[in-house]
């Protein structure tokens, strides 16, 4: 019996990859800052950590944004095909960086809560224990949230630029792992927070395992993990193997989990409710952008050739997501849970833009994602400010008559709600209009009809909250609005300005997206 060689002799040798470091500088800047920020935790004295971390986070995000602006017009694939820096990537990088900066401001807020910021003094201390009291009394802060924020942002930036399956998997995990931990670090209601972290982690890990196995099957089918090579195989091989169909389905399970599409949405309400509000805002806005960026690139670049196979599948998922999200949101009595179901419904609307698989659909999805991101981060800023004696007042009953007590804050929140409902002169209307118009042009009339029905159902519960706040009398349990520091004020103002500006003058962003063009092949 002859011994088989361990590897075939015809295999090519490894070559040094050529990397255009400037094109991926935004990822590298944020990643470098994340690493430095871990060192800050180790070496900077406790008193100086918060300030150092804040400076590091803000400086790195601003620097990365400046580089992203400078990169405009770039269209290249680097890192041996692993990373694509093209128009859509840059648009999403810009949106992710800006929204993360606003989320960082929310995480830095500590005047709203008399106890300090939104995070436990020591996440490792037992809830209700003497340790916990001691740490809180000494004014300890869990400054590790900053490296987590930067690592998660690194993952998101890499996720939207990933051009092969390995890069996409690694980016998916780099994005998710810090978020699992952040979800469990709330200062108040720690049992809920820890439970949210456990559920998010177990289900998230489960879904990424599906993604990975799908990647393995696609690799088995096409012999490559690069998107372009996969696309070439699709055209070269006429027979569609079961490996291909099952592989794509498993990949989509992993990605649709992240955007909270039905039937992979079960984690969303629990995690949105349990996680600290700044983290929920950060996660709700940015993960949606990053995961949809990845879905768009995967479906358009790698699997654009078999769109007749994935469109019907996504068609059903989009219809279910819109309807289930909107209908269940009506029954909710907790504000954060209601917003979780609303985010599920919004994922369905964005999926409509994804399904049409035209440049118009791509642009509409991008616009919708950006509009949704800014509105969402603003909503969670308001949720942080509406409080009672025991912390955030998230029960809808406690929002009754808020407009009489604090007209400004309730008015801003109503604006966000109306934007999500898609009322004209808000960013949500332009987004919905763009998505539905793209779908009509591509002939998906029935999907648009379902979408409009779902929008009407969704408008019911958004408007119900508006009515509850403005046209009902305050009761004993109506919450009060805490006065925020400059951090939250900046975030809230920016979110409001973007929601109105994108509603009344959407053209500049539409132009930016149009110039960005389509994905590079």
């Amino acid at each position: 019996m002859s011994r088989m060689p361990l590897i075939d002799p015809v295999l090519p040798a490894f070559t040094t990859p050529s990397i255009n470091y400037y094109a991926i500088a935004p990822i590298l800047i944020v990643f470098g800052a994340a690493v430095v920020s871990v060192l800050v935790e180790a070496f900077v004295p406790r008193r100086g950590r918060r300030v150092t971390q804040l400076v590091l986070v803000i400086a790195s995000i601003v620097a990365a944004f400046a580089v992203t602006l400078d990169l405009r017009g770039t269209r290249l694939v680097t890192g041996e095909g692993a990373i694509a820096v093209d128009g859509p990537t840059l648009v999403m990088w810009g949106a992710l960086l800006l929204i993360s900066l606003l989320a960082a401001f929310l995480m830095a807020e500590r005047t709203i809560d008399p106890l300090g910021d939104a995070f436990a003094a020591r996440a490792s201390s037992l809830p209700g224990s003497e340790d916990e009291r001691q740490f809180a009394a000494r004014g300890y802060l869990q400054t590790e949230v900053w490296p987590f924020l930067l690592f998660a942002l690194t993952g998101m930036l890499a996720f939207v630029a990933a051009n092969d399956l390995l890069m996409m998997f690694v980016a998916l995990e780099v994005m998710s792992l810090p978020l699992y931990l952040l979800a469990g670090m709330a200062r108040r209601r720690r049992l809920l927070s820890q439970e949210a972290a456990l559920k998010y982690f177990l289900l998230g890990a489960f879904s990424s395992a599906f993604f990975l196995y799908g990647a393995a099957l696609i690799y088995g089918y096409s012999g490559s993990i690069g998107f372009v090579a996969i696309s070439d195989t699709l055209t070269a091989k006429t027979a569609e193997g079961s490996l291909l169909a099952i592989g794509l389905a498993l990949l989509m399970v992993g990605l649709l989990f992240k955007v909270a599409a039905v039937p992979f949405h079960q984690w969303t309400p629990d995690v949105y409710q349990g996680a600290p509000s700044p983290v929920t805002g950060f996660m709700a806005a940015t993960v949606k952008i990053a995961a949809f960026g990845a879905i768009l690139r995967l479906l358009y670049v790698a699997f654009g050739g078999m769109r007749w196979d994935w469109q019907p599948m996504l068609w059903i998922i989009a219809a279910l997501t819109m309807l289930v999200g909107s209908i269940i949101a009506i029954t909710q009595s907790d504000m954060k849970r209601m917003l979780a179901y609303s985010s599920i419904a919004q994922a369905g609307f964005i999926l409509v833009g994804v399904i049409v698989a035209t440049p118009q659909g791509l642009g509409a999805s991008l616009f919708y994602l950006i509009a949704y991101g800014f509105t969402t981060i603003g909503m969670f800023a308001v949720i942080m400010m509406v409080r009672n004696a025991s912390g955030e007042a998230t029960s809808l009953a406690e929002w009754r008559g808020l407009g009489r007590k604090s007209p400004l804050v309730a008015g801003v929140f109503s604006l966000f709600l109306l934007s999500l409902a898609g009322i004209p002169l808000t960013s949500g209307f332009v987004g919905k209009f763009a998505v539905f118009a793209a779908a009509i042009d591509a002939g998906a009339v029935w999907l648009v009809i379902i979408g409009v029905v779902a929008s009407i159902i969704a408008a019911f519960f958004y408007v119900r909250v508006v009515v509850l706040m403005h046209f009902a009398d305050p009761t004993e349990e109506t919450a009060s609005v805490a006065i925020p520091s400059a951090f939250t004020t900046v975030t809230l103002t920016a979110a409001t300005v973007m929601t109105i500006a994108l509603g009344i003058f959407p053209q500049w962003l539409l132009d930016v997206i149009e110039q960005a063009g389509v994905f590079i092949r």
Partner: protein, 99 residues
């Protein structure tokens, strides 16, 4: 030996892992089942690398091992915290978040 057998083995392992996640009640066991699924994917990658005659799959397997190790760190941290709080690692017990 035919590499296709390894693909079948990996599919079996993946299914066992997925079933384990769905039916087991202890968070540690659920997490071990997820790891089994990741390693089933690794096995598939290596077997496919052999069938396809290139090294991409083997490279992926190395990266996945590192990612899985990082996931263990995060996962055990969360599970141990829950265990210290509740004196139990059952995933049925944390049920404050509903409706």
């Amino acid at each position: 030996m035919n590499p296709e057998n390894y693909i079948i083995l990996s599919a079996v392992l993946f299914t066992i892992g997925a079933l384990g996640v769905l039916v087991r009640r202890n968070a540690i066991i659920v997490f071990m089942s997820v790891e089994l699924m990741l390693n089933a994917a690794n096995l598939a990658f290596v077997a496919f690398a052999r069938m396809n005659g290139n090294l991409d799959g083997q490279t992926v397997a190395f990266f996945v091992m590192v990612v899985a190790a990082a996931e263990v760190v995060v996962g055990l941290a969360i599970i141990v915290t829950i265990f210290r709080t509740r004196r139990s690692a059952s995933i049925d017990e944390p049920n404050l978040l509903k409706y």
